[in-house]
Symmetry: C2
Subunit: 409 residues, 2 copies
DNA sequence: GTATTTACGAACGCTCGCTATCTATACTGT
DNA sequence: ACAGTATAGATAGCGAGCGTTCGTAAATAC
């Protein structure tokens, strides 16, 4: 009649804690292999304890043993070294966009095993499900990971995502997408925990992980639409579920959110489409400008920034206006959040320094502590990377025995 | 030659963990006393373990024993009940304003033991230090707590506070205040950890604690100046140190922050002084209005709201304008943070429903998820209460053995 | 080939928590 | 008033785990 009370504290919990401590120490130094002596030092445990834990973890498949490596020749008997066995629990990240599906498979140690991207011209919701399945299989094959090994999946979807039910609201681009239960579908393909989150959130997570360290990060995804993810000390801030929806910030003193419209005022004002439209108008008004030369009839967002980079005053004026509108919209949030850094990603980020400097100048006039303003180094992989990252976090949180006390109330 | 590595895991750490679990269980149900059987249930530990832990905690003075209480008559041998011995580690909260010093002493269980307030007409920095000392002694005497028992102190100061150095920047009201090392001074009076924080932050902490539960809270302090504190799942968000400075949000499309000016655009637009000024102007323009009647020459902020509550259209127009400006300034942050609730405190909060409804109407037009909009129930005690709360958190975090693993990177 | 250095492995003793049993105390029913 | 019962507290024995100590293995240095 074992009561089955997990979480109470007997000596077996002590063992679990210590094993977890060892595993955690190995994880922290991944992918570098560690000697037992180093583990002893890092965990503060006694050698036999660590040795026993390592044995256990080797048996369970979490660690792998390395032969004494050639380079590390020193005095005395060579030490056995262990490292994370990444294949123990690989994870899968999924980025679903209206025109593109990306799947990444990652090591337990965070090494990317495969990354498969497929583009297409506007799928229907049903077609999309099929494509997702195919791309997942492709990525698994490339990573040489059997489907049943996958330990966790995180999927990214545009729109506002309800963390718990896994439903998506407010998706404009794919008709019928919000009716689909993506989580259920993926769980049908891969029998493991599946989570769904906003793409801007996941991109933010990836960027935060890449920058490392603590602090507050505001990561803006700026393309046709505008969204932002907030990461505070490594953890996502979700609010009640719709945090970071900067696209709906009002830009004009008379702006009002129209619940029917899936795009917000700021998106309409400075989304990539709007920038292109501004550029076209400016080109029409100044037919002799470099901007008009570059762009022609189907002038693009990129043309605007290219012309501005070449110091065309007409294009510079457009960029100035965009930067000003964006900075004025973002400044209140910067004041309130006081982030360590603001990182801009997404399609518009390709504009580069031209835009960044203009925003920086404007933001400096409107804030107290001026956060670092950067461009995302991850480009289009940010979302998948963030999804894999979150899946990894999930696995670790599940496998590393609970930090002792997480009572109710 | 004990290596002194605390944090590693022997059986003695197990004991510490379990003792902490018991103490934590008692704390959670404070101030209600608990029977040992209840502790067994809540901690999941065995009875002898709990009994031993209780003995230890009784010896150490953290718990006190209650006789079997009269009301609780039931079958069987009456149980011994234990509760937190609040006097084991009382804490002190300190609210320093330009015209008022407030000191509160609190139980370990969160019971208020004393609260002393002293007002004066604009002290100098030096005088202020003297007053602080006097009021602290008064509060200690009233609480019947010797100074050396105080386990932690948290002081609240207006302005932006550097958490680590304890220095204050940007304080307008008290000349020379930012040069004072308040922490050092208080530590001279009371030999214990002393922390300093922004008053809006601490008020937010108190309000969050009063509301209970998790989620994101945006607590606005609205008086002559405007500040806000952000509490996410019970923990303060500080950003790089200046989070929540909503007073500096631009209200006009041409507004710019002037680093020389200690007040920001929003404060100048809707701070209590500005509201009074708007009221006076409106009264001049409409001498026959109820507003003009009520206020006369030295028309006050309160008069504006009073007249508006009596449905005076002139006053209502002023309130409408204030609400609109405030809501437009706050909306971006509400979109980004997506808080569970927005609570308004400070002097202007006395306006009541008139203002709240007007803001709510405006905010509804500008946000996606509409947070609950409430008035602070704590009134002027919010800051001291929050300071005591934070001091308590500090004590608990220090005394409850660390949750096992908090290694460095 | 010997000495030295480093790491692995095994045995012992200690502390701790859990299970089970026994004693103490007060209410309840006849 | 007295026996019965239900609940709480105290004690003994058992098992598990960690830490310390000692002995052994495997490499390098001289």
């Amino acid at each position: 009649m074992s009561k089955g009370t997990v979480g109470g504290g007997g000596t077996t919990m002590l063992r679990r804690i210590n094993v977890a401590a060892v595993l955690d120490a190995v994880r922290r130094s991944a992918p570098a292999p560690l000697r037992v002596a180093e583990l002893v030092e890092r965990t503060g445990l006694a050698r036999p304890t660590v040795a026993q834990a390592v044995d256990e973890l080797l048996d369970a498949g979490w660690l792998q043993q390395h032969g004494p490596d050639s380079a590390d020749r020193s005095l005395g008997r060579p030490a056995i070294r262990v490292s994370l066995r990444g294949r123990a629990a690989p994870v899968l990240g999924l980025d679903v966009g209206p025109h593109r599906v990306t799947v990444g498979v990652s090591d337990l140690a965070g090494r990317k095993l495969s990354l498969v991207r497929r583009s297409g011209p506007g799928w229907t919701a049903q077609e999309l499900l099929g494509v997702i399945g195919e791309v997942i299989n492709e990525a698994l094959a490339e990573a040489e990971v059997p489907a049943e090994d996958i330990a966790a999946v995180v999927a990214a979807s545009p729109g506002i995502v309800d963390e718990h039910t896994g439903r998506v609201q407010l998706v404009p681009s794919v008709p019928g997408w919000s009716a689909i239960d993506l989580i259920k579908h993926v769980r049908g393909l891969l029998d493991c925990p599946v989570m769904l989150d906003n793409d801007a959130n996941l991109a933010a997570l990836a960027i935060a992980a890449a920058r490392g360290g603590t602090g507050t990060l505001l990561a803006v995804q700026w393309g046709e639409r505008l969204g932002a993810g907030i990461v505070i000390d490594g953890r996502l801030h979700r609010g009640t579920g719709a945090a970071g929806e900067i696209g709906f910030i009002a830009t004009d003193t008379d702006d009002v959110i129209n619940p029917e419209d899936s795009r917000g005022p700021l998106e309409r004002a400075v989304g990539s489409e709007a920038i292109a439209a501004l550029g076209r108008q400016a080109a029409l008004d100044n037919p002799k400008s470099r901007l008009a030369e570059l762009g022609g009839e189907q002038l693009d967002t990129a043309d605007v920034f290219a012309a501005a980079a070449e110091r065309d005053p007409v294009a510079q004026a457009v960029v100035q206006q965009v930067a000003r509108t964006f900075a004025r919209a973002l400044a209140p949030s910067v004041l309130v959040l006081d982030p360590t850094a603001v990182v801009i990603g997404g399609g518009v980020a390709r504009a580069g320094a031209v835009l960044l400097d203009a925003i920086s100048d404007q933001l400096r006039l409107l804030t107290l502590n001026h956060p670092k303003l950067e461009l995302s180094a991850l480009a289009e992989d940010a979302v998948v990377t963030g999804a894999m990252r979150m899946a990894l976090d999930e696995v670790w949180q599940r496998k590393l025995p609970t930090p002792a006390m997480t009572s109710t109330t």
